[in-house]
């Protein structure tokens, strides 16, 4: 089972790297999706090990949450583009200080 967890860890690390390195908000959101997926994989792997349904149930909840988050997040991205005319997160730092 831990191979699944290892895979989840690797994917999570990659997603985190993506969040930290990319500047474009779209890519950052994509990387967040990767991380969510990795977490879900971890749950499924754990559920498979114990032979319980709880892992799959958790994954369904994660899925639901990801869906809601993406819709709201992309709407916010549209607002950001409307206000700042750019998708570069480094430029959107008016909350500085």
């Amino acid at each position: 089972m831990e191979h699944g967890l290892i895979l989840a860890a690797i994917l999570f690390g990659l997603g985190l790297a993506g969040v930290l390195v990319r500047r474009n908000i779209i890519f950052m959101l994509m990387s967040v999706e990767i991380m969510l997926n990795a977490a879900g994989l971890a749950f499924i792997a754990a559920g498979a090990r114990w032979g319980a349904v709880d892992g799959q149930v958790m994954f369904i909840f994660i899925l639901t949450m990801a869906a809601a988050e993406v819709s709201v997040g992309l709407a916010l991205v549209l607002q950001m583009y409307h206000s700042f005319r750019t998708l570069d997160t480094d430029k959107v730092s008016t909350m500085k200080g």
Binding site: L16, R23, T89, D90, V92, S93, T94, M95, K96, G97
Partner: protein
């Protein structure tokens, strides 16, 4: 029947209260009568008491009166009580009689001043405090009077308070004497803790019983009391306040800073002389201080231009003579000189006041001149006073008192040739500067016109004091000139006779010759320098060394600059440091630290989303690292 002891100080106190409460509303004549009259009543009562004392001496030569118990502390009771013995009788007579004459003079001198009633209120309060000082039975009441005269001195020096310089002079006087007062208070505490009493007579009995001659505690206590005396009497090293105190009105200078307050130190040492006899090093210090002061002050007087400052330095110098006498054990000689000095110094100050008024408030002697013909009464009385100060032989009171001191300085076991030589040199310098003053002011050409002629209220005191300056010396004729030591015989119960003088009458006569020669030589030199050849002095001051010496002595030996560097500047620097509240820096430091930390941490709020994500990742990495490291 000792109630007169209560009334003698009571009259001036009543005068003060009346004038303080209602003085402003009373017409000037009434104020003058209350002000001068209260002291006059005291003088009458004191004279009557004196006569009775002489004709029918009370038991033990002492009159005492206890008013009430002031405080009970440490098992003993301190009461407000008065004591009249020959020593305090002399003081009371001088204070009230000379004080009355000065008050009378002041009624005309201060006529045009709008603080008329305030002046007389303060003066009366001063006379009251001084009488309390000399009549005090114990050191606590004496200290009360001591502080009282210090307060009145401050009030009167700064009388014309609108000018800030006067306030500064008053503060300087108060603070410098305070240094001495603190030493004296500590001395009082020491005496009380060791001997358990502060009653003067009891102290004078208990001290020799308890301490051998030269005991450390006795030396310490005597030194502390000496500190107080030095401060009040403007001796080295606390003499810096008296020349500046001339900022006050002239009657104030006459009464307080010539005749009475500054002699309080002499009175204190004379009163507690038993203690000083127990402490030979301190008594030697008294003599040395006296000798040094009289020389330094004399030289300073020689360089002054302001007529009142000459008289101020002269006062310091003459009190130096009194200290010299105390230091060699000639107690009654010191008191004799005190009495004659009160007469002629008050006379000189009052005369100087007339001169100043007559010269449009001019103080600089070099701008005066030729007043001999214009102010004849003033001139003749001033001349008498100057002669007495210079100890012109045989006819003046000053001669007898100064000569007595010089004789004791030579012949007493504690005296010596060095002290006598200092006294002799001082006598020469004294007559030199005195007659310099006379010649500059009254002789020569008149440089400023007359603006005032004194009335009866001013000339009568002048003439009375002049008379006293002549006959006042005849109460103590030395062996070579009549042998009539009435004065010291009178004081004998309180101030035991001075150490045995050598039986060689010839030696005393020889010293008297020397003293006479010194004073006459001083007059002669002054005549030559300031009347015959005034240009010589001008040429002399053109020499740079002489000029810098003149400037040095003009500043009174430059003690002000020395003290400024030693005490004032470090203190001001400490105050500046403390102004920034460095002790608070512990607390403000915490606030500053938080503020700095805030600045540092607020730099992490970049508004950059990736930075925040990096923060999260970093935190997770650190946390996991801890788990990895700490797990088994």
């Amino acid at each position: 029947m000792n109630t007169e002891l209560f009334f003698i100080p009571f009259f001036p106190l009543a005068g003060f209260i009346m004038l303080a409460l209602a003085g402003k509303r009373l017409p000037k004549r009434v104020v003058a009568s209350i002000g001068a009259g209260s002291v006059g009543l005291s003088a009458l009562l004191a004279s009557a008491t004196g006569i009775r004392f002489l004709l029918a001496p009370p038991q033990g030569q002492v009159l005492s009166l206890t008013l009430w118990d002031w405080m009970q502390v440490g098992g003993t009771t301190v009461s407000v009580s008065f004591l009249l013995d020959p020593l305090s009788l002399i003081m009371v007579l001088v204070i009230t009689v000379v004080g009355f004459l000065i008050h009378l003079y002041a009624t005309q001198f201060m006529e045009h001043d709008e603080g008329y009633s305030r002046f007389f209120a303060y003066m009366n309060l001063f006379v009251f405090a001084m009488l309390v000082l000399v009549l005090a039975d114990n050191l606590v009441v004496l200290y009360l009077g001591w502080e009282g005269v210090g307060l009145c001195s401050y009030l009167l020096i700064g009388f014309w308070y609108a000018d800030p310089a006067n306030g500064r002079a008053a503060r300087k006087a108060f603070i410098v004497t305070r240094v001495g007062d603190t030493a004296m208070a500590i001395g009082l505490f020491l005496l009380f803790s060791h001997l358990g009493t502060l009653n003067i007579n009891e102290l004078m009995i208990a001290a020799p019983a308890r301490w051998p001659v030269g005991a450390d505690t006795a030396v310490l206590a005597a030194a502390l009391l000496l500190g107080g005396a030095v401060g009040k009497s403007a001796q080295l090293p606390l003499q810096v306040w008296l020349p500046d105190a001339m900022a006050g009105p002239t009657p104030v200078s006459a009464l307080i800073h010539a005749a009475t307050m500054v002699t309080a130190g002499v009175y204190l040492v004379a009163r507690t002389h038993v203690l000083f006899e127990l402490a030979p090093p301190v008594q030697a210090a008294v003599a040395v201080i006296g000798a040094a002061t009289l020389l330094i002050a004399g030289l300073s007087a020689l360089a002054q231009r302001d007529i009142k400052r000459v008289l101020a330095y002269s006062t310091i110098s003459q009190i130096g003579y009194m200290f010299l006498a105390l230091g060699v054990g000639a107690w009654s000689a010191a008191m004799f000189h005190f009495m004659t000095h009160a007469f002629f110094k008050a006379l000189l100050f009052l005369g100087a006041g007339v001169v100043i008024l007559a010269q449009h408030e001019e103080h600089d002697m070099f701008r005066m001149g030729g007043l001999r013909d214009k102010l004849p009464a003033t001139f003749w009385t001033f001349l008498v006073g100057a002669a007495s100060l210079s100890a012109v032989p045989l006819v003046t009171a000053g001669f007898y008192s100064k000569d007595l001191i010089l004789w004791h300085a030579w012949s007493a076991p504690r005296g010596g040739a060095a002290l006598w030589a200092a006294g002799l040199a001082g006598a020469f310098i004294t007559s030199l500067y005195t007659f310099r003053m006379v010649f500059l002011t009254f002789f020569g050409e008149s440089k400023t016109g007359i603006s005032f002629k004194p009335g009866r209220a001013m000339t009568v005191p002048l003439m009375l004091l002049a008379g006293l300056s002549i006959i006042g010396g005849f109460v103590e004729l030395p062996e070579t000139l009549g042998n009539l030591p009435l004065f010291s015989r009178f004081l004998n119960p309180v101030l035991p006779a001075g150490p045995a003088s050598s039986p060689e009458g010839v030696s005393e006569f020889f010293l008297q010759l020397d003293a006479s020669f010194a004073s006459l030589a001083g007059i002669g030199v002054a005549w030559v320098l300031y009347v015959l050849r005034p240009a010589f002095v001008v040429k002399l001051t053109a020499v740079p060394a002489v000029e810098s010496a003149r400037k040095f002595w003009l500043a009174g030996g430059d003690f002000d600059a020395l003290y400024n560097r030693l005490f004032v500047r470090p203190f001001v620097r400490l105050a500046e440091m403390s102004k920034r509240d460095f002790i608070d820096s512990g607390y403000t430091g915490i606030a500053d630290l938080s503020s700095a930390a805030n600045h540092l941490l607020s730099r992490t709020q970049t508004g950059n989303i990736r930075w925040y994500a990096m923060g999260i990742a970093l935190g997770a990495a650190v946390f996991l690292a801890i788990v990895v490291v700490l797990s088994p």
